[in-house]
């Protein structure tokens, strides 16, 4: 019981520790506010601009979510394709790695030209940046499926698809969730970065605009808001994961 309490409060303890370290670092290194504002200045900015920050956050949040949704779907499908055929694995993997090494900001101008300024480039950037980790883990899950487990279904005359759905996916589910954690962070990065390039809304715009006015506390308030949104999404997935992959985490209980 005590242990469970500790676990519940663990994230808050960590946040508190971080804030203390942050304040302390800023104070001991005497970092000027225009470079690295402390938590207090950031909190003030958060409070003073709560209204506009809220509006911009909502924009970033929903574009990120749409992009993330597309990314998850694409990552799953491509992971499926890459993971279940040796030929596709060898053909696509290097290319996908190459593609993903390209900073996605480089594509934003092209997206803006094609889709106009607004939410679409942000959504697409979030999407482009976040599908890869999902793909990689899904593909790895499928490619490392134990033949013994596969045989359980194959012996029933199951089609490849059945094998993947009934064995491949469940087995790689813990890693699928792991990849979601990476992907959601990247999706936020993608949306924000896209907003800095061409948008009048979103946390990316807010940060750009605050930055150009040298209001670093506001910039940091934006960063904090992104972090918090990502953490909320993480908590959501963590709950989902707990329900769906309890079987895989059974070892932990006895640790």
């Amino acid at each position: 019981m005590n242990n469970r309490m500790l676990e519940r409060f663990a994230p808050w303890i960590a946040v508190a520790a971080l804030v203390v370290i942050w304040e302390f670092t800023v104070w001991i290194l005497a970092v000027p506010e225009f470079i690295f504002p402390g938590p207090w200045a950031t909190a003030q900015a958060l409070y003073n601009f709560a209204g506009p920050i809220g509006v911009h956050s909502w924009q970033t949040f929903w574009t990120t979510m749409v992009g993330f949704g597309l990314g998850v779907a694409t990552g799953l499908v491509l992971g499926f394709i890459v993971g279940s055929s040796r030929f596709m694995y060898h053909a696509c993997y290097p290319l996908l790695v190459g593609f993903n090494a390209i900073p996605k900001v480089a594509f934003v101008p092209i997206l803006v030209v094609w889709f106009g300024i607004g939410s679409v480039p942000a959504i697409l950037t979030a999407f482009l940046i976040c599908f890869f980790p999902i793909l990689v883990n899904v593909a790895t899950g499928l490619a490392t499926l134990e033949p013994e487990m596969e045989d359980v279904l194959r012996v029933l005359g199951a089609k490849r698809m059945d094998v993947l759905l009934k064995v491949g996916l469940p087995r790689s589910l813990p890693y699928f969730f792991a990849s979601l954690k990476v992907a959601i962070t990247l999706a936020f990065v993608g949306a924000v970065v896209s907003e800095t390039v061409a948008s009048n809304q979103g946390i990316g715009y807010l940060m750009m605009s605050a930055g150009s006015q040298m209001r670093m506390p506001l910039v940091f308030a934006g960063l904090i808001v992104i972090s918090v949104m990502a953490m909320i999404m993480y908590e959501f997935f963590a709950q989902l994961e707990k329900r769906m992959t309890g079987w895989a985490h059974r070892g932990q209980s006895s640790l």
């Binding site: 013994e148 487990m149 045989d151 359980v152 012996v155 029933l156 059945d162 009934k166 895989a248 059974r250």
Partner: protein, 287 residues
């Protein structure tokens, strides 16, 4: 005793409302599985099994015995199409085997239950895959669950339906795995040492369960076992395999009258058969 017969009745009842069993070949026999000069080499270390030629009739119950590592599980893989032979030809139901069959059920040597599914869901798995159950799975789910539960009850797993495999003991996992092999009433049932992890009594009880199912439906069964009494009690034909590379070195027809009760295991013809087999296998190993 009373408990046992009650169990048998329940099995029978579960059977009654199932599909019409495949033509029971009481007398007229039809080749169902045929191996012609089949060999398989997993890698360049030589053949795992070699020059296997045999025919299994539809509705026949055959058993394979042989020393550890001789290729019994390999034979199972060939038979269900999980592996293609390196040379030779495998035919099932008149058609060459090119990939996994759709008419077989298999209990693997190690239980290989899926850890993310409860025992019940593991047993239901074939019904989600194999036609015609698959098509009706959503609609008739309640009925299928009942069937699966009845099956689990016959192997003594009542009350464990919603446990996960890792919450079961080794023998319980193996029993669940047998249920999974049976639930979709396959025409070809492959059992790879299905009772190895069970105590003598549970084992004999399950012999009877299997015997009754088989008597009722007359599917074709291939059983691998190290228990010669088991082989003789259940099978029509016992194949004896040699050390690796595994070859069929002898074939025993078991002519004990059917249906066989457990008392037959104390009869002299039975013990003679078992001892005969035992001596033969001893020779193989010595060779």
């Amino acid at each position: 005793m009373a408990e046992q017969s009650a169990r048998e009745n329940r099995v029978g009842a579960a059977q009654a409302d199932r599909e019409a069993p495949v033509a029971a070949a009481t007398g007229a026999s039809r080749p169902f599985v045929s191996f012609q000069d089949v060999s398989l080499a997993y890698d360049d270390s030589g053949n795992a099994i070699e020059d296997i030629s045999l025919t299994i009739d539809e509705g026949e119950f055959v058993a394979f015995v042989g020393p550890s590592g001789c290729g019994k599980s390999t034979f199972m893989k060939l038979c269900t199409g999980l592996r293609p032979p390196t040379t030779g030809k495998v035919e099932v139901d008149g058609k060459p085997v090119t990939g996994p069959l759709k008419i077989s059920g298999m209990a693997f040597q190690n239980a290989t239950l899926l850890p993310w599914r409860t025992t019940l869901d593991n047993v239901l798995l074939p019904l989600e895959i194999v036609e015609p159950y698959r098509r009706r799975f959503r609609r008739d789910k309640a009925k299928f669950v009942e069937q699966a539960k009845a099956l689990l009850r016959t192997v003594g797993l009542e009350g464990y339906e919603h446990q996960y495999p890792w919450q079961l003991s080794g023998g319980m996992q193996q029993r669940a795995s047998i249920c999974r092999a049976l639930v979709h009433e396959p025409r070809l049932l492959m059992l790879d040492e299905p009772f190895a992890a069970l105590d003598a009594f549970t084992r004999e009880e399950l012999w009877c369960v299997l015997r009754d199912l088989w008597e009722a439906q007359r599917f074709t069964v291939v059983l691998v076992t190290h228990d010669l009494r088991e082989a003789v009690f259940l099978a029509d034909t016992v194949y004896v395999m040699s050390k690796r590379p595994g070859r069929i070195i002898d074939t025993h027809r078991i002519d004990l009258e059917r249906p066989r009760g457990l008392e037959v295991t104390y009869s002299e013809p039975f013990t003679n058969l078992v001892h005969g087999l035992r001596a033969q296998i001893g020779e193989i190993r010595g060779a």
